[in-house]
């Protein structure tokens, strides 16, 4: 009853390692991009970042730009760059009315009895110091110990780095672990291992998911940068920008480090239900920098330690760079430590993964998986 089967010599042949890795990585990426839960969680993360920037922008915009009524006749006498919004008026009465109505915080009117500036600043019930300061000639200012940032901004930046690192690592790390167990549970891993080596399979999975994570990070930082520009927060972008650049660089290696550990952990169990327990040690490694940077962003010693420990360096070092407390060579040294650790984790992870992949049933003990 069977119809004829193709019996010509098959085109089956061993494939190059790079092609195998590309195929596996490609499958990981397409599978993830088709998963609704992945797309939704990515969108939520993106919107959270964008929303916090817009809200921040709106808050600073309203706080920093007081409205000032300016009489037309004095406009030319005022400095060209002003840190307030001007409302042009013709008469003194008009200006005073706006002031009394609370529409403006101060008025600048022509004529002066006591100075030769040619204008007078009018306040409602107290001297409008901010406006006065911006109209005054400032002496040169030299700060001996610069670098201390606004504490609230420090907190926000710390939260931003911590949250993005945490969210990405958890999302993709869990995904990798689940995908490893899924292959193990369904036994498709046996078909795969009959074709390509465990190391290539692992490499494909780590690279595929890492590319997605990098894509997400780059998208987030791009969205954040554009958001800052659009909402007129260029100065903040200038302060945070270099740190964000370092963050992306550290993230690349930090994530691969975690990905290898997540994959190795996942390979120890045979059922998707057991993934949660087996990856909890790695989850803790992800939590530490997240909590650490939020709790200790004002503690120089803790931050210094965090900036060198490979698991927290992707958050700790950019934070110190933002605070200006790191010497120029420190990120390079920390990055070198991170890269070496990542290489070690890949070697160890590949060993555990290769040894544990075909052991089904109860959870494989870590010692057995390492020993082989």
């Amino acid at each position: 009853m069977a119809r004829p089967v193709p019996t010509s010599p098959s085109g089956a042949r061993p494939i190059a390692a790079t092609r195998a890795v590309r195929l596996v990585a490609g499958r990981e990426i397409t599978t993830r991009l088709r998963s609704r839960s992945f797309l939704v969680s990515s969108a939520i993360l993106m919107l959270t970042v964008l929303a916090s920037i817009i809200i921040g922008g709106v808050l600073t915009a309203t706080a920093d730009l007081p409205k000032v009524a300016v009489q037309r006749s004095v406009v030319n006498a005022l400095p060209t760059v002003m840190s307030y919004e001007t409302v042009l008026v013709q008469t003194v009465a008009e200006a005073e009315q706006l002031l009394r109505d609370g529409e403006v915080e101060a008025a600048v009117l022509s004529g002066s009895t006591e100075s030769d500036l040619g204008f007078t600043v009018v306040g409602l019930d107290q001297a409008p110091t901010a406006v006065i300061a911006s109209l005054s000639t400032q002496p040169d200012v030299r700060i001996l110990d610069p670098g201390s940032q606004d504490p609230f901004l420090v907190y926000l930046v710390a939260l931003g780095f911590g949250l993005v690192f945490f969210a990405s690592s958890i999302t993709f790390g869990t995904t990798i672990a689940q995908s490893v167990v899924e292959e193990k549970q369904t036994r498709i891993v046996e078909i795969l291992l009959a074709t390509i080596s465990a190391r290539l399979l692992l490499a494909g999975k780590v690279i595929g998911n890492s590319l997605l994570a990098f894509g997400q990070i780059i998208l987030i930082t791009t969205v954040a940068s554009i958001g800052l520009l659009v909402t007129g927060q260029q100065s903040l972008l200038g302060q945070v920008g270099p740190a964000v650049g370092w963050f992306v660089l550290f993230f690349v290696f930090g994530f691969v480090l975690l990905a290898a550990l997540f994959a190795a952990s996942g390979s120890l169990v045979s059922r998707v239900e057991d993934v949660g327990t087996v990856i909890s040690p790695v989850m803790t490694l992800v939590m530490i920098p997240y909590l650490g940077v939020i709790l200790f962003n004002d503690n120089a010693l803790v931050l210094a330690v965090m900036s060198y420990v490979p698991f927290s360096a992707p958050v700790g070092m950019p934070m110190r760079l933002f605070l200006g407390t790191a010497e120029w060579w420190e990120p390079l040294l920390s990055l070198a430590i991170l890269i070496l650790t990542t290489a070690g984790a890949i070697a160890l992870g590949a060993r555990i993964y290769s040894n544990a992949l075909l052991r089904t049933g109860s959870r494989v003990r870590l010692r057995d998986a390492i020993a082989g």
Partner: protein, 294 residues
């Protein structure tokens, strides 16, 4: 020709395979039978290189099997496994590409196999949305999509409805007819009996019997005869060398100590009157199986 030479493999201190040797000839459907835990799956994993044996070698046409050879093997693992959320056709193409086929060949083979297995309507469904029987067919397709030269199938018929059994059977016999060595394990002895050319029986990690089906039957058949005559047959139990199994009126089933005793009974019966039937009973596979694993 696929051959296992003295394969041994232990897990910890438990020996799962000890000194296992057998042959899967070109174009031979070889049934691999044994109880659960007898070592079938381990032996298959060793053939596929998924497990490394502690000792022994696997050869194909006389030369040790290499990774390159294995890309031309088709393998169906014991527990059914495909990516649950991946579409059937996509998954088959992916596996074909991993086996080194070009994209066009991968797609053509996928379409052809899905047609043969009656899955063309399901090509774009995810595996998890298929019925169990169709998942099984998809699994068979996964083992065949790269047109392998050697097939190793762990329980290919379990979970299949009778129609699917026939379909799969047809596809596998066609591969064997084309010259591929086909090794399949099964606990459904009736299917094995009907399908296999050769048989390998394993128990507790050792090979208990191997050879062609007929050869095994002849060797293991013992000497049981059935005789039907016109008159009373109860005299058979008094013939020297005969052990009566079932004597009922004109029909007798009995074991003999030698071929000659059987012929003597026939001779005697012919002398007494008409003989309606005299035949050596072929043991069923189930009987052989029970006998050899004890």
């Amino acid at each position: 020709m696929l051959e296992l030479h003295s394969i041994s493999r232990s897990f910890g201190d438990r020996a799962v395979l000890s000194d296992v040797s057998f042959t899967v000839g070109n174009g031979r459907m070889t049934g691999f039978v044994g109880a659960n835990g007898a070592g079938k799956t381990t032996a298959m994993r060793v053939i596929l290189g998924v497990l490394t044996p502690d000792a022994g070698t696997v050869t194909i046409d006389g030369a040790p099997v290499t990774a390159a050879d294995r890309t031309r093997f088709g393998y169906m693992p014991e527990e059914r496994g495909l990516y649950p959320k991946m579409r059937v056709a996509e998954q088959l193409v992916y596996l074909a590409l991993l086996h080194g086929l070009g994209p066009r060949e991968a797609k053509a083979n996928t379409a052809e196999l899905l047609g043969q297995l009656g899955l063309e309507q399901r090509a774009n469904d995810t595996v998890e949305s298929l019925s169990l029987g169709n998942q099984q067919r998809a699994q068979i397709a996964a083992a065949l999509v790269h047109s392998p030269d050697v097939l190793v199938l762990d329980e290919p018929f379990s979970g299949l409805d009778p129609v699917a059994v026939e379909t799969v059977l047809g596809v596998l016999s066609a591969r064997a007819a084309a010259g591929a060595p086909v090794l399949f394990s099964s606990h459904q002895l009736d299917i094995v009996e009907r399908l296999c050319d050769d048989l390998v029986v394993i128990a507790d990690g050792t090979i208990r019997a191997r050879g062609s089906r007929e050869q095994l039957r002849a060797e293991r058949g013992g000497h049981r005869y059935e005789l039907t005559v016109a008159g009373d047959v109860s005299w058979v139990r008094d013939v020297a060398g005969v052990t009566a199994v079932d004597i009922d009126g004109t029909r007798a089933v009995f074991d003999v100590d030698s071929e000659a005793t059987g012929q003597a009974v026939l001779h005697h019966a012919a002398g007494l009157g008409a003989v309606h039937g005299f035949q050596r009973q072929q043991p069923s596979l189930a009987q052989i199986f029970r006998e050899v694993i004890q």
